[in-house]
Structure formats: structure tokens, C-alpha cells
Amino acid sequence: MKKAIKSLLASTLLAVSVSAAAETKVGYIYVGPKSDYGYNYAQDQGRLYLEENMDDVETLYFENIPENADVQRVMERMIRSGVEVIFPTSYGYLDHALKVAEKYPDVRFAHSGGLKTSDNLMTYFAEIDQAMYLAGIAAGMTTKTDKLGFIAAHPIPQVLRNINAFNRGARSVNPDVTTAVIWTSGWSDPSKESEAASALIDDGADVLTGHVDSPINYVQVAEERGVYSVGYHADASKFAPKGWLTGAIWNWGPMMVGIVKSTQDGTFKPQHLRGDLLTNAAQLSDFGDAVSDEAIAEVTDRQRMIREGDYQVWAGPIFDQDGTVLVAEGETMTLEETEKMDFLVEGVIGRLR
């Protein structure tokens, strides 16, 4: 009897350890709250997609982790609890992740947006400026004043790419369009963002978009003042049932599934994985009622061309604000050049420095 119980116990233990071995534990670290309706929200949607689409994966996450040595402690805590794959999702986590990665060579890291790798650390990101370009087309065909407004946090390459892409998209269908930029000097300052939105509308802008942590503020002001809005990071259409056009949003799920699978079957490579409209890692949200059928057709058509490689967002000629040629006709900016962008294009109103 005793023996029977022992073997029963042993087999149960075995069963537990087998199922534990089959489960891959994946850890996520966010710099802000996962419900910020912006960058972190989008990353967390990727985590939920991963849980839904892979049976053998268990996820856990930490929110509001600052970009300092704290994040190293969080990663080590995750590793001690059995996490094998870590997604440090904020730009400033990169160097900390590299340090922890060196200490734990068996753990895999996938950092969001970085430009460094090590043996067990890769990066992933997506060219969301392609989606901003398409949203610009919708904005250019909707505006009646030919004035668009852009609320921007800081003049870093990622933000400049979005401003320029949005403006170029709009001008590709409506050459009279200008895009006025207001810098708020902060990723999240609701009061300034609302006031910047009011200022742009007072100056005649009738489509607003932006690149700050969350689109909620400017989208709400636009709706209240009866103008249109284009979202960024995440779908904020519920805040503007009347004026919402579309939004450039992230779709990290499929990419994250691919990364986790590569860690399971041993194909993980320390690479810079970049998604785009084709892989759907960056995409347009659903269109709002305010977008005309004509505009939808134009956007859809251009989206197909970009996906099939027949059209490049950063193909020349590209002019700077005073009309000087930056990229000649027939040339196209490389990915590396766009990731270091430091100019505003013709048609953008605002100063860089």
C-alpha cells in the first residue's frame, strides 16, 4: 500500500514537472501603466495575443518600471521564477537588458526598438511611419482648410519620421496641405497637449494627430471642437465617434509569437527584427464614419502598393522646409538613414531646434 502511494506520488510529481517543462514562461516589462491607451497598451495587447495563440506559454508582466537599475532587479526576479523569454519593452531598458543578458546566457531577450544585440538579445520594432503616411492620405483628402496639426513630444528620429510621413502622405493627394507642429517637451502632459490642440484648431487646422504617449487628449479636444483626428499607438475611436478618421497602431501579437517560437525550436537569432505594413506589425486602425469612400479607396490602394514593394514612403525627391533637395529623385533612404532622421520636410511648419 505504502509503495503504491509512493509510486502514485512519484508519477504525479513527474506529471507536474513534465507540464512545467513544456510551458514557456514569458516576462514583460512596461515603463508605464499597461492601460495607458498608448505605447504600453499596445505592447500588452501583444502579450494577450501570445497567451491566446500559444497553448504552451504562460506570461507575467510588471508595469511602471523606471528605466534605471530597478529594471535589472525586475528581470532577475523574473528569471529566478523560471522566466525564459523576456520582453523589455521600453527604449531605455536596452543597456540594462544587455547586462542581465550577459549574466544569464540561457535566457532570451527581445528588446523593443533598440539598435544593439548580444548572443541572447535581439530587438524588434515596426515601421509605423508607413501607417502614418497612409493616415496622412486620409487626412489630406478630408481637410477643408488644408491645414493639419501635429502634437509632438520631442524631436527624436521616431517622431520626425511620423511627422514627415504624415505630411508627405497628405501632400501626395493634396499638394496645398501644410502640417503645423507644436512640441510639448514631454511624453505625457495632458494639460499641455489639450492646449496645443486648441491652439492648432484656433489657427485653422481641421485634422489633428500627434506622437505623444497617448492620443486621448488631442482626440478629445478635436471631437469637442468639431474637427477630425488621427490616432497614434492605439485605437482611440471611442473618444471621437464623430471625427475619428483612422489611426496608426501597433500590432505586436504575431511578431511576439514568432519570437517566442524561435526560442522554443532553437532558431532564435540575435537580429534586428523589423515589421511593417506587410507583416501587419504596424497597421491602420478601422476607418471612422467621417472618411469618404474615395479616401478609403485611395488609402487601400496605396497600402497594397507599399505592401507589394511598388511604392516607398522615403523615395525621393524629398525636400526640406526651404525647398532644398535632401534626397534626389530616383534615390530612396535606407532603413538606417530613416532611423537617424534629423529634418522636417517641405510643408511642415515648425522649428526643430
Binding site: 496639426g149 495632458p190 492646449e195 484656433d202
Partner: protein, 309 residues
């Protein structure tokens, strides 16, 4: 010409909108400092008010309940400052900083479930009966409830402070708690009331920001406006009537920072971003030039806080 008038009017309304939360804090802090107590914790009290106001509005659907709850939350947190300063004789600056950090952390933590929620706020008076009033109707229509409440509180506070016996005691406590004591009054009830009133006003200011102005809650959304308000108390010379121009100074500079950019004025955005701090500083220096040391209306009781005697 008409265009310029519209632009200037738009700028003034923008200034009033962004000045209102700061103005409410300035008024509360003037009352606190008039009793000889300085409270740097207003920043944290504002955040707790903003979070509570937003959460209650999101849950109940009633922005007025949200504003009331925000006032209560600001008062509750200010009790910490009152307990430390009046109960334990703690250093006022240290206690204020503690309250500021506590409020930031508490509001960030308890506010997490409300980030990204949509609330139904007041909206402006456009289209309501108020807008049909003669002469002032058009002006009022551009305002929102918290702006009006804050503006109305200026004369009320001034009347209390300068025209009532309680106000006289309040001011004399701030000038010299010792003399008040010799006259047979305890300064503590006045100082307690002054701290809690500051809590009420900064909680209200938080609601003005989160419930009325932006209809949004984001952690640390005050971005230092509470501390700016403490500085503006000096610009306002501890006088509630001067609180409005002092707060407007900040409001105008902040709106100018954003509007000059959209007017394509050829100044670096980095320099423009310093306007909300540079302009009040310059005005402070100019307006205090030639005043004797300790002038400018500072309650004498505050000297002890700064000079340690």
C-alpha cells in the same frame, strides 16, 4: 485687425484655462502661508485630487461628485502635513516634500485602473441659458464650471481674510503665533484650518485639471504645477487679489509657448518652453526691486521657516 483681436482673445481664454488649476492652488497656499505655515505638499494633494476626481466621475458619471470627492481627497492628504507640522513640530519643508512624494505615489498606484477611461465632463456653457445673458453671456460661454468657481472664490477669500474677525485672527497668527498666544488665543486651530483649506483648494485644482480641463487621468499629470503655484504665491505677495494676475502670468506664458509655435515665430522651441518659468521670474525680480528685505507682504511668521529661528 479683427484677426489680431480674435487671436488675442483666444490666447486670453487659453491662458485662463491653463491658469485655473494653478490659481486654485495659489489661493489655497496663500491662505496656508497667511497662517505662518508653508506646504510644498500641494503638488501631491493636487495629484490625489485629480485621481480621485477622475475615478469618482468615471464610476458615478457625475462630474460634480468627482469635484467634491477631489476636494475631500486633497483635505485628507493635507491632514498628514497638519499632523507632522502641528502635532510633531516637524520641519515644514521636509514634511511638505514627504506629502508631495506620498501623494504622487498613492495617486499613481490607485489610478492605474482608470487610465484610458472615458468620462463625461461638464463641457462649456455654450448653448445653455448662461450664454444668452446680455453682455457677459458670450464671455461666460467660453468658460467651464471650475474656472467660474475658482474666479468666484477670489472675492470670497478676500472678504474672509480682510473683512472678518476670524480673518483678522488668521492673519495675526501668521504674523506672530507668539503674540496670538499671549492674547489668549491658540494659533493651532487657525493653522490646522489653513492647512486643510490648502488641501481643499489643491484637491479642487486636481479635479479642475483631470475632470474639467483635460477629461483624462495620467499619473503625475500635474507636471510640477503645484510647485509653480507655491512660487507664484510670492509673486502674488500673499494677497488673494493678486493671485489672479500671478496665475495668469503663468497661463499666458504657457499658452504663448504653444501658440507662438503654431504662429511660426522664429524662436527655438527649447527657448519657448522656458517661458512659463522665465516670465514669472522676471516679473518677480522687477516687482520686488527696491523693496526692503522681508517686504513684499510676507507673513512674518514664515521667517522662522526660512531662517530657522
Amino acid at each position: 485687425m479683427e484677426l489680431i483681436t480674435t487671436e488675442i482673445l483666444a490666447l486670453l481664454f487659453a491662458a485662463l484655462r491653463s491658469a485655473t488649476p494653478v490659481l486654485a492652488v495659489v489661493l489655497g497656499e496663500i491662505m496656508t502661508q497667511r497662517s505662518g505655515i508653508i506646504n510644498l505638499g500641494v503638488e501631491g494633494q493636487m495629484l490625489v485630487g485629480a485621481m480621485t476626481g477622475f475615478a469618482v466621475t468615471a464610476t458615478t458619471g457625475d462630474p460634480w461628485l468627482g469635484v467634491l470627492a477631489a476636494c475631500g481627497a486633497g483635505m485628507l492628504l493635507s491632514l498628514v502635513h497638519a499632523a507632522l507640522v502641528l502635532g510633531c513640530q516637524a520641519n515644514q519643508i521636509a514634511s511638505g516634500v514627504a506629502v508631495m512624494i506620498l501623494g504622487g505615489g498613492l495617486s499613481a498606484f490607485y489610478g492605474i485602473p482608470y487610465v484610458g477611461e472615458k468620462i463625461n465632463s461638464f463641457g462649456s456653457f455654450k448653448g445653455s441659458a448662461v450664454a444668452d445673458l446680455p453682455v457677459i453671456g458670450e464671455f461666460l460661454a467660453a468658460l467651464t464650471p471650475t474656472i467660474l468657481v475658482t474666479l468666484v472664490s477670489i472675492p470670497l477669500i478676500s472678504i474672509f481674510l480682510y473683512r472678518t474677525i476670524a480673518g483678522l485672527h488668521w492673519r495675526s497668527v501668521g504674523e506672530s503665533a507668539g503674540i496670538t498666544r499671549n492674547l489668549g488665543h491658540s494659533p493651532v486651530p487657525y493653522q490646522f484650518a489653513a492647512i486643510v483649506f490648502g488641501g481643499l483648494m489643491s484637491g479642487f485644482a486636481g479635479a479642475a485639471l483631470a475632470v474639467d480641463y483635460t477629461s483624462n487621468w495620467v499619473e503625475y499629470m500635474t507636471s510640477g504645477r503645484g510647485l509653480v503655484a507655491v512660487g507664484l504665491v510670492i509673486v502674488a505677495r500673499w494677497n488673494p487679489w493678486y493671485a489672479l494676475p500671478a496665475a495668469l502670468l503663468f497661463g499666458v506664458s504657457e499658452s504663448l509657448n504653444l501658440r507662438l509655435q503654431s504662429w511660426c515665430v522664429d524662436i527655438s522651441p527649447y527657448l519657448l518652453a522656458t517661458l512659463p518659468y522665465l516670465i514669472p521670474l522676471v516679473v518677480l525680480m522687477l516687482s520686488f526691486r527696491g523693496l526692503k528685505a522681508g517686504g513684499g507682504g510676507m507673513p512674518k511668521g514664515l521667517k522662522a521657516v526660512f531662517q530657522g529661528n
